[in-house]
């Protein structure tokens, strides 16, 4: 798995690609932490764009949970978008859709987060 970080205005986009499993979870967590606390000023929001994410296990869900909680504590808007069907199913069964904002796609997510 690899993760791309980019900025759209004051929102930091985190785009994981590939498989988010036990083996890649720690690295992904470090990337998100970096995106939140990164160099300079903290972002207004962090959006995890999952368009390239093929697979997520409970080890990956744990990272989403920790990130959503850290964002809440830091007063940073948090959301995920563009879940593939396989990832969406895991989010639905585990109750994660109710736990954090899940947006259909990137433009919709950015519009919501910049409100």
């Amino acid at each position: 798995m690899h993760t791309v970080l980019e900025s759209v205005g004051k929102i930091t986009l985190v785009s994981p690609r590939g498989r988010l499993d036990f083996g890649s979870a720690a690295d992904f967590q470090a990337q998100i932490e970096g995106a939140m606390t990164g160099a300079g000023t903290a972002p207004v929001g962090v959006l995890i764009d999952c368009a390239g994410l093929d697979y997520v296990s409970s080890a990956g869900l744990r990272v989403f949970l920790i990130a959503a909680r850290a964002a809440k504590r830091a007063g940073i808007a948090f959301g995920v978008c563009d879940l593939k069907p396989s990832v969406r199913e895991v989010f639905e069964i585990s109750g994660f859709r109710e736990l954090m904002p899940v947006h259909a796609d990137r433009p919709q997510a950015l519009a919501q987060m910049l409100k």
């Binding site: 499993d21 869900l61 744990r62 069964i93 736990l99």
Partner: protein, 141 residues
């Protein structure tokens, strides 16, 4: 009918070997993407449970995995020679807890049980055996 086996030490670094094992199986037996994903998830969760609970400090458990498809039904069997551990006794996570109270413990087994048709644990003499079964939908579903 198609059947494959693999045997690995119960160490987290072996997860990639198991993923490749499944991918090789899927290249022989065509199954829908969603079904393949369900088995990848179930195998990762079951294997990581063995890694965390089934390998005492002085030794690493041996994990044997077999996957078979018979008459449209996939059966995944994971056996290990670690101490007795029934993952199905893990407490069910409270999936309606809010963000601050939510815990991830037990979520892997919960997902496995929800996504499989049948999950069964047995202690066979000195081995743990976890068997998971799911009927395969049509490949074009």
């Amino acid at each position: 009918m198609s059947e494959r086996h693999v045997s690995v030490p119960g160490h987290a670094s072996q997860l990639g070997v198991l993923v490749r094992f499944l991918h090789e199986f899927w290249s022989d037996a065509k199954v829908p993407q969603a079904t393949a994903m369900t088995f990848e998830l179930a195998l990762e969760e079951a294997f990581m449970n063995v890694v965390m609970h089934g390998s005492p400090t002085d030794r690493v458990a041996r994990v044997d995995v077999s996957l078979a498809i018979v008459d449209g039904e996939l059966t995944l069997i994971i056996e290990d020679d670690g101490p007795p551990f029934d993952p199905l006794t893990l407490a069910t996570p409270n999936i309606s807890a809010n963000l601050d109270e939510r815990r991830v413990g037990g979520l892997g087994v919960f997902l496995m049980r929800k996504m499989m048709d049948n999950v069964r644990y047995q202690r066979l003499e000195s081995r743990n055996q976890l068997q998971m079964i799911k009927r395969v939908g049509n490949a074009d579903e």
